[in-house]
């Protein structure tokens, strides 16, 4: 066998099987450990950190299947192969369904065993490599903001900085027309910077630490703030936002983040509504949950797109206003909602509108007192 020595663990209660395997393994350069019961094998696996484990399915005490599951939860890249008697091929298949890589029926020849070791170790290499790639991809995703920020944002910032100063320096020197063109350049670069910032914020916002600052929040506050923020655009399009909020709907969370989450949904509803349309926002307590629902009568979402709308970079077709999103808002909303232990769903009737529902675990009885935030005053968001 080639390559560096690997660690192989045998778990079998039959001494004759263990002995014959050990005899074969002695010819190799691999490190070997063995145990005669499932529990002992698991103990050993923690310290020994095997690449490959052979485990007997039928043992007194802990069964082979239980051992398999425990091993996989310890390290999913450990390759497990089960030993089984001819009578229990069905059990071996079941074991493979539980994550065993393969099975070896007893009795087996030394060549069978060697060949299984080779295949098992190859599989181990593949799994380890795959896990490393996944980790790398995850790290890339997490560090995306920092990477893109330097590569993409720095040149834009430098251009904008020089436009700022050039425009100021050329004041009175260039014609009004030339000045206007320079200002347009600066304004377009500014839009591009704002776009990059929104993307980066969507990606890099680490919502997990929010939990440390969770406190009781009356949902009327975030809803009212979100509705108010969406009003500018709504008024421009003559869209009426009506909202009805149960004042007893209280959740444990972060008011600012919840405002952001609701605003993204309400903002979308306005964006994809037709001129003169109507957006309804409601928040109710039901079944131990607070459900915030945002309904519009806008262009709707094609059924084929519905499964993807909460993924980063999905963006709807240009709304009635001709403005398309950047594809971050709903992804960020979902992350915020999930950080609050909730979920967000959407339903849509293309051409007739969409309904988004954010469900959050309700705080049972909001007892006013020290340490509990008084429900914030409901502003104009509440229905008349």
């Amino acid at each position: 066998m080639s390559g560096q020595p690997r660690r192989i663990l045998l778990i079998d209660d039959e001494p004759i099987v263990v002995d014959s395997c050990l005899a074969i393994l002695e010819e190799t350069e691999h490190e070997v450990a063995f145990a005669s019961s499932g529990a002992a094998g698991l103990d050993m696996a923690r310290a020994f950190e095997p690449d490959l484990v052979f485990v007997d399915l039928k043992m007194p005490g802990m069964s082979g299947l239980e051992v398999l599951e425990a091993l996989r939860s310890q390290d999913p890249t450990i390759v497990c192969i089960v030993f089984t008697g001819f009578a229990t091929i069905a059990a071996a298949v079941e074991a493979m369904q539980h994550g065993a890589y393969d099975f070896l029926a007893k009795p087996f020849t030394p060549d069978d065993f060697r060949s299984m070791i080779r295949r098992g170790l190859t599989q181990r290499d593949l799994l380890v490599e795959r896990a490393a790639l996944l980790r790398e991809r995850e790290a890339l995703r997490e560090n995306f903001a920092a990477i893109v920020s330097h590569e993409l944002r720095s040149p834009l910032a430098a251009v904008q900085q020089n436009l700022f100063v050039t425009i100021a320096e050329l004041d009175g020197v260039v014609s009004e027309d030339q000045k206007r063109r320079l200002e347009r350049m600066s304004s377009r670069v500014g839009e591009l910077l704002a776009l990059v910032n929104r993307w980066l914020r969507g990606f890099s916002t680490d919502v997990a630490p929010l939990r440390e600052s969770f406190r009781p929040v009356a949902i009327s506050g975030p809803v009212a703030n979100a509705v108010e923020s969406a009003q500018t655009e709504a008024v421009r399009k003559a869209i009426e936002i009506v909202s009805q909020v149960d004042p007893s709907a209280v959740v444990l969370g972060d008011g600012g983040a919840l405002t952001e989450a609701v605003l993204n949904v309400v903002g979308n509803a306005v964006k994809y509504s037709r001129q003169g349309g109507r957006v309804s926002v409601s928040a109710v307590r039901r079944d131990g949950k607070v459900a915030i629902s945002v309904a519009d009568s806008g262009v709707g979402i094609p059924a084929a797109d519905l499964p993807w709308i909460f993924d980063a970079f999905y963006r709807g077709q240009a709304g009635a206003s001709g403005v398309a999103g950047v594809g971050i808002g709903l992804a960020l909303t979902r992350r915020i909602v999930e950080a609050h232990g909730g979920c967000i769903t959407a339903a849509s009737d293309p051409g007739r509108g969409s309904v988004f529902v954010i469900e959050l675990p309700a705080l049972k009885t909001p007892v006013p007192g020290p340490g509990v935030a008084p429900p914030e005053q409901v502003s104009k968001g509440e229905a008349a």
Binding site: N143, H150, F164, V165, S204, P209
Partner: protein
């Protein structure tokens, strides 16, 4: 105004430096260092009234190291430091779990690139003024 105050800019992006230097030149004598080492040498050689420091230089946050080094230095610790950086989130990434605020490193002010010329001059004047008031000048 009496003598012109001196500002040191430490940033590894020459184009960006050109863009802020032209602004600061209106009111200050500016000196530029394009890496933290030259910046440190300049600080040791001359006295400056303000340091404009970039965070992301070299292989990472070398600007942060420099700001910390300045605050440990008896002679330099009273000099105001204005950090001009990319996204605030960049700082959140570098210092996970910490508040996204200039307080992460002992500097006096943090601004995002690009900076409005008037705002930059305002901040610079305010920082220099406050520092001189503290030292009774």
């Amino acid at each position: 105004m009496s003598e012109r105050r001196k500002v040191l800019i430490v940033d590894d992006d020459p184009d960006f430096v050109a863009g802020i230097r032209a602004i600061l030149d209106r009111e200050y004598d500016t000196v530029v260092a394009y890496n933290p080492k030259d910046g440190w040498d300049a600080l040791k050689k001359d006295r400056y009234d303000l340091l404009c420091l970039d965070i992301m230089m070299g292989r990472g946050a070398e600007g942060v190291m420099m700001a910390r080094k300045i605050r440990r230095d008896k002679e330099l610790r009273n000099m105001p430091v204005l950090i001009i950086t990319g996204l605030r989130e960049q700082i959140a990434f570098l210092f996970p779990g910490q508040a996204v605020h200039p307080g992460f490193v002992p500097v006096d002010e943090l601004m995002e690139k690009p900076v409005e010329p008037d705002l930059l001059l305002q901040k610079a004047a305010a920082l220099i003024g406050a520092s001189e008031a503290r030292q009774g000048r």
